[in-house]
């Protein structure tokens, strides 16, 4: 059996990749994807430790997370659509009228 610490490293790596993508990408859709990665990093933890602790809480919760991620994307896509309509772009760095 794979030691549980490996899963932690994996999830941390996935989380970091997501974070990196989020910080470097300017396209809103990539932004969304990066967030998905980060959520899935959490899911890795849930599932791995669910197995390790021997209860189903983690696995069940990972389902919740996925569902909520979907909902989040739905709202996100909606906002990106409006963004495109108003700014003619899906670049998240374009809207910076409000600052300071």
């Amino acid at each position: 059996m794979v030691p549980v610490e490996y899963y932690l490293v994996l999830s941390a790596a996935v989380f970091s990749i997501g974070l990196y993508g989020l910080l470097t990408r300017e396209n809103a859709l990539f932004f969304l994807m990066s967030v998905e990665l980060m959520l899935n990093a959490a899911n890795i933890n849930f599932i791995a430790f669910s197995a390790q602790w021997g209860n189903l809480t983690g696995q069940t919760f990972s389902l919740f997370v996925m569902a909520l991620a979907a909902a989040e994307v739905a709202v996100g896509i909606g906002i990106i659509l409006v963004l495109y309509r108003n700014f003619k772009d899906v670049d998240v760095t374009v809207p910076q009228e409000m600052r300071w």
Partner: protein, 686 residues
């Protein structure tokens, strides 16, 4: 049975009521009173005079009065360094000194009121209710001051006197000069009063009481303290004797201010901007007299301190000489009189400082009458000259205004100190006291008194000269202007006061003819001396003699008084004679020109005014401007600076929010990372 003392308070209250009435009339803005309020004033001062006379008679019957009638403020407990609760009260001290002064003040005030009918009413002045209100309050304040049984009450009325002088000197407020002079008078005397007030406070703090007379009076306690029979608070680590000297000198500050002694004399000549009757009142009986009266009133305290006495004598003598020298060159009649006032009060100070309590009081008495006379006479001249005061425009008024001339002459003789006019006797006695005590006293005080005597003697010469220069220029010779040629004397209200005062100026000196007494051995004729001896023990002449010898170390040498009197008389005659020679002609020349630059110095009063004005305008005002700039720039600058720095900080801080969402995410991550690392290290997680 109700006696004079039961009504004594009314002496001060009556003029106050006339003040209230006049203020009411002034406020109404209508001409409600005949003569613009003069009649109530005359009635009130007349009443005061009668009551004063009654008090005088009662006192001469050997009765005195020293009671508190109103407690102004009273503490409940002994606090600080005091050993008993403080009580600040009003009371009356009616003894020979105050009774005499009451008489002088109310008489002069009455005559000034009468004279004002001629000087103000007949000249068609406006604002008469205001004028008479001022006179009323002035009289009331001075009478209150004279009645005072303690130093605080005295101070309070002293200040009110200052207020009244301000109001009356500035009576013609629509002109430029009078308001300025009024301000100066108040301000300069206020400067003196500052020290006086410290003195009053110090007296309370030291003795717990400020009463003048009685066993529980501060001079008495001080005496006991010096004798080692009582303990008092002293401050600043001083011994009682030194501390009492300090207190005495502090109070003296007020005296110097009010009595126009050097160096606070500068207000007085300017005060001539006021109506002439007011000048008479100020100079003869009220404001200026208040200062020296105060010294006499608390003489028992000054007698304890040789240093204070020496300073009083030196200041007095120097002022006498100094002012007299300036009087030599003045062109305006009232200016000459003004400097003569300063000079004469210098004599009074000299007398008091020299241990001549009776002499100083005597000169105060005689001076009150002859100076009032001279001012009213000058007022009469000024009326005739249509308010032109320049003596070079006058001349030859003798024929046109005989009453004025003869009374003025009487006053001048008195001022110059020519026998047998009033001033001779009193001035002579002052100088005599200075001489004998100067010779008899071995300490530094003796030397000081001799120096003072010398200056006083020289001033006699000057006095004789400027007095007769004034008389010659004004009344003798040929008229030097159209107005002078057409001058005419005023009505009864001008003449009556002049005559009354003329008689007094001629005769009042006879009440204390010490030289005659010495010559004849008839000491019964030293009426004033006897009169003042009739005081309660704590304020009697004998007590003062005792104190002067015991604590002041003053002793009298044996010099015949008629010798000293003869010397000063001779000097006065020399002065008067030279004035007659120089200015007695039909068309005198302005000989003062020959003095050259010295004349400039004298004419400009040794630049005393200039340096004081310079101090005010070039030191104090710029200093205040600098302080203002400092306040705005630095003190307020710090306040505004704190706000600016905060706002600047805010404006920088908000730049973090630069509008780029990727930056937000980066900073968010960075922040979280820092926290994570920090806590991981701090908590030792891994």
């Amino acid at each position: 049975m109700a006696g004079a003392f039961d009504y004594a308070l009314a002496i001060a209250v009556l003029p106050f009521l006339s003040f209230c009435l006049a203020v009411g009339v002034a406020l109404s803005g209508r001409d409600l009173l005949p003569k613009g309020g003069a009649l109530p004033g005359i009635a009130a001062t007349g009443g005061s005079l009668l009551l004063s006379a009654w008090v005088f008679l009662t006192v001469s019957g050997g009765e005195t009065y020293n009671e508190t009638f109103y407690t102004w403020a009273a503490g409940e407990a002994a606090t600080g360094s005091l050993s008993e609760p403080l009580t600040l009260s009003f009371g009356m001290l009616l003894d020979p000194l105050s009774a005499m002064m009451l008489l002088i003040v109310s008489l002069v005030a009455l005559l000034v009121h009468v004279f004002s009918l001629g000087y103000m009413n007949d000249e068609g002045e406006t604002g008469l209710p205001r004028y008479y209100a001022g006179l009323g309050l002035f009289t009331a304040s001075m009478l209150g001051f004279v009645l005072a049984d303690n130093l605080l009450m005295a101070f309070m009325f002293f200040e009110l006197v200052g207020l009244c002088s301000y109001l009356l000197i500035g009576f013609w407020f629509r002109r430029e000069g009078p308001p300025s002079a009024a301000k100066k008078a108040f301000l300069v005397t206020r400067f003196g009063d500052y020290f006086f007030l410290i003195g009053v406070v110090a007296v309370f703090a030291t003795f717990g009481t400020a009463k003048f007379a009685g066993e529980h009076s501060f001079p008495r306690i001080a005496e006991h303290a010096l004798a080692g029979e009582a303990t008092v608070n002293t401050f600043l680590g001083l011994e009682p004797a030194a501390w009492f000297t300090v207190i005495g000198l502090l109070v003296l500050g007020g005296v110097i201010g009010k009595s126009a002694q050097f160096p606070l004399h500068t207000w007085l000549p300017d005060a001539m901007e006021g109506p002439t009757p007011v000048s008479a009142l100020i100079h003869a009986a009220t404001m200026v007299a208040a200062g020296v009266y105060l010294v006499a009133r608390m003489y028992g305290f000054y007698a304890l301190s040789p240093t204070a006495l020496a300073i009083i004598a030196l200041v007095g003598a120097f002022t006498a000489l100094f002012a007299a020298s300036m009087g030599l060159v003045k062109d305006e009649i009232k200016q000459v009189l003004a400097y003569s006032t300063i000079s004469q009060y210098g004599y009074i100070m000299l007398g008091l400082g020299a241990g001549g309590y009776v002499a100083g009081t005597f000169h105060l008495l005689t001076h009150a009458f002859f100076k009032a006379l001279l001012f009213l006479g000058a007022g009469s001249v000024i009326i005739a000259m249509h308010h032109n005061e320049d003596m070079w425009e006058m001349g030859g008024l003798k024929e046109r205004m005989p009453v004025t001339y003869y009374t003025f002459l009487a006053g001048s003789l008195a001022l110059a100190g020519i026998v047998p006019f009033a001033g001779f006797w009193s001035k002579d006695e002052v100088l005599y006291e200075a001489l004998v005590h100067g010779l008899g006293t071995t300490s530094g005080l003796g030397t000081a008194l001799l120096v003072a005597y010398g200056m006083g003697l020289l001033a006699v010469l000057f006095t004789g000269f400027y007095t007769f220069r004034m008389v010659m220029l004004t009344f003798h010779g040929e008229p030097r202007s159209e107005t002078a040629r057409e001058a005419a004397e005023g009505g009864w209200n001008v003449k009556l006061p002049l005559i009354v005062l003329g008689i007094l100026a001629t005769t009042v000196g006879l009440v204390n003819m010490t030289p005659v007494a010495d010559l004849t051995g008839m000491h019964d004729i030293e009426l004033l001396n006897m009169w003042l001896s009739g005081a309660p023990e704590s304020v009697s002449v004998e007590q003062y003699h005792h104190l002067l010898e015991e604590f002041g170390g003053i002793h009298a040498a044996d010099v015949p008084s008629y010798l000293a009197g003869g010397l000063s008389l001779a000097l006065a005659l020399v002065g008067a004679g030279s004035a007659y020679v120089l200015y007695g002609g039909a068309d005198p020349e302005p000989h003062t020109e020959k003095l050259g630059s010295l004349r400039g110095v004298l004419y400009n009063n040794y630049y005393q005014d200039e340096y004081q004005v310079w101090l005010a305008e070039n030191v104090v005002l710029p200093l205040s401007k600098v302080a203002d700039v400092f306040d705005q720039a630095v003190v307020d600058g710090v306040v505004n600076g704190v706000s600016s720095v905060s706002l600047f900080g805010g404006s920088r801080l908000k730049r973090v929010q630069d509008g780029l969402v990727t930056h937000y995410a980066a900073m968010l991550t960075l922040g979280l990372t820092v926290l994570l690392v920090g806590f991981a290290v701090y908590g030792g997680w891994f």
